[in-house]
């Protein structure tokens, strides 16, 4: 009898182990097919030639007579990226724009997160909601709303003109300044939230200990607060830097013809030139460049979940 129930238990255990796959497989397969596989296709198409047919690129694997599979890889798309200035310049330009926007977000976001962390608990919840709320409202519409402030006849210029501070409307739209304003305005909540998460957990006793031992406030900040909030600084910076570098809406709506960020170039390559192999190659190179920052972000966010 006991033998039979042991066998029964083993069967039940094995059944539940198989049943697990009913839970694991649907999301695994879905993301595999519709998120991971597309990158393989992009890689494949980036190695193909532009062709006048549907779909508009050649096959890299063809069956030649005698049942030989012929593999023809075309590295021309990649060579093209590194010979045409447009791509290198827009990569560098995106990198620079994202870097400085992240820095500005950090400089504004850090004191904001610090003040929220120091606020009384009841105020804290309200402040957090106030910071999170814009995250829920439409990104596109917030960029549009900003346009209403900074455009030629917008609120900013009207006020400055009325108070006689300027005599001609400032040209902000279609400048680099507008792109920075747009990115900082849109991504600031992404910086504040992870910073708050680490600053909130900070042990106040450590700060008091440092102060009691005679450290001036700025040294307490530099030697205790800042190092301990590093995970938040990195997570927040990556959450701003990575999407900012691929940003399309902001340079397209607020920027001028000179603000050629890589997202915009990719968009034009796709909708303007319809050169899909080159667009695929740009995406692949872009992804390789992003692999570093994404890995850093993953590393720190996993750490934060575990602690």
């Amino acid at each position: 009898m006991s033998g039979a129930s042991a066998v029964g238990a083993r069967i039940a255990r094995r059944a539940s182990r198989h049943a697990r796959w009913l839970i694991i497989l649907p999301p695994l397969m879905y993301l595999f097919v519709f998120f991971l596989i597309p990158f393989a296709f992009a890689l494949k198409i980036s190695l193909a030639d532009l062709a006048l047919r549907v779909p508009p690129f050649t096959d890299i694997l063809t069956m030649s007579h005698g049942d030989h599979i012929r593999l023809s890889l075309n590295l021309g798309n990649y060579r093209y990226l590194f010979t045409d200035d447009l791509y290198i310049l827009s990569y560098l330009y995106s990198l620079r724009t994202a870097f400085f926007s992240t820095l500005i977000c950090l400089l504004i976001g850090y004191p904001m997160a610090y003040a929220i962390a120091r606020a009384p608990k009841s105020t804290q919840n309200v402040l957090l909601l106030v910071i999170i709320l814009p995250f829920w409202t439409s990104f596109l519409l917030r960029v549009y709303a900003l346009e209403g402030i900074i455009q030629e006849h917008g609120l900013l210029n009207s006020l400055l003109l009325r108070f006689g501070l300027i005599h001609h409307p400032l040209q902000i739209m279609q400048t680099t300044l507008a792109v920075y304003l747009g990115i900082v305005y849109s991504y600031l909540p992404f910086m504040v939230l992870p910073l708050f998460a680490t600053l909130e957990k900070l042990d106040i006793a450590l700060l008091e200990a440092a102060a009691d031992l005679g450290s001036p406030p700025w040294r307490v900040f530099l030697e205790v607060t800042l190092p301990l909030s590093m995970p938040g600084v990195i997570a927040g910076s990556m959450l701003v830097f990575i999407p900012a570098i691929g940003e399309f809406v902001i340079p397209s709506l607020l920027g001028g013809p000179n603000n050629l960020m890589i997202g915009r170039v990719l968009w034009d390559e796709f909708f303007g030139n319809r050169d899909w192999p080159v667009a695929a190659a740009v995406s692949i190179v872009f992804l390789v460049f992003l692999a570093g920052p994404i890995a850093v972000y993953q590393h720190y966010s996993v750490k934060q979940i575990e602690t």
Partner: protein, 276 residues
């Protein structure tokens, strides 16, 4: 953290919040402007809102976006919850690393890359399998991908803090694993499920880049229509539409937040009363 906040940091905090909200407040105020000129106040008017009701293009796009959004959130909620359960409850399984990578990557991947690679997949699939045709369906498939990631992360953190003892007690009392999960853990993670469903809805309703890339002729979502209009400049009817969307979402988030906080308090109170 009870010590008095540094005055400088607090000043920056309130300035920052003011800057975050100022453009939206101005937008809403000017949506009631009778004058079609943005800079001139021509008196109070709801004309632009009334005009929206007769704009066939916007109404059709809004209806399409809403249908896609509801379908996306529902499918993503299901897939994301399964992924969260798998990642939290099953410590070791083949493909665990793959799954956790695939639910984290879409969160940080620039939309334009996700969109282009997915479009290339859809084109190749259509060529080989004759399916799917680009349009509402491909938008739905693409949105479910990144929404699933958001659901997984939200539900995952909630599930990690959920007490498993209740579920084990239910199983000791003879409930099957599925019934035990549904009776004990599901109510605990319910707020996370609701908030991730809402988050998916807003993310899907808001997406411009991925939708534009994977969509085909004929299927224009609301952000696609708004973008093409905005590209031509600030217009009063878009002001009205934008104000409407911002207020609806704002109020919905406040209500959902309030409801969830109350539910949470009730749950904590009940637990204290039962002495667990």
């Amino acid at each position: 953290m009870s010590r008095a906040a540094t005055p400088v940091a607090t000043t920056i905090l309130y300035l920052g919040i003011a800057i975050l909200y100022l453009p939206m407040v101005v937008l809403i105020a000017y949506s009631f402007n009778a004058s079609p000129l943005v800079s001139v106040w021509g008196g109070f008017s709801v004309d632009w809102y009334l005009r929206l009701l007769h704009d066939e293009q916007i109404l059709a796009a809004a209806w399409l976006s809403l249908r896609i959004g509801v379908a996306v959130s529902t499918v993503a909620l299901l897939l994301g919850t399964l992924a969260a359960v798998a990642l939290v409850r099953f410590r070791r399984f083949r493909g665990r690393l793959l799954l956790s990578g695939m639910v984290n990557a879409p969160l940080v991947m620039p939309e334009i890359i996700t969109g282009i690679t997915q479009l290339l997949l859809f084109i190749s699939m259509l060529h080989v399998l004759g399916w799917p045709h680009r349009g509402a369906l491909t938008i739905l498939i693409a949105h479910v991908t990144f929404c699933t990631a958001y659901v997984t992360v939200t539900v995952q953190s909630r599930l990690q803090s959920a007490d498993r003892a209740l579920e084990e007690a239910a199983m000791d009392l003879g409930a099957g694993p599925v019934a035990a999960f549904l009776d004990t853990t599901l109510p605990i993670i319910a707020p996370a499920l609701l908030s991730s469903w809402l988050l998916c809805l807003t993310l899907s309703l808001d997406d411009l880049v991925i939708s534009s890339l994977v969509s085909g002729p004929g299927a224009s979502t609301l952000p696609m229509v708004i973008y093409s209009k905005v590209k031509l400049g600030v217009t009063p009817d878009i002001n009205a539409l934008a104000s409407l969307i911002i207020s609806v979402v704002g109020v919905a988030v406040l209500i959902a937040g309030g409801t969830m906080r109350r539910a949470e308090k009730r749950r904590l109170l009940e637990r204290q009363q039962t002495g667990s």
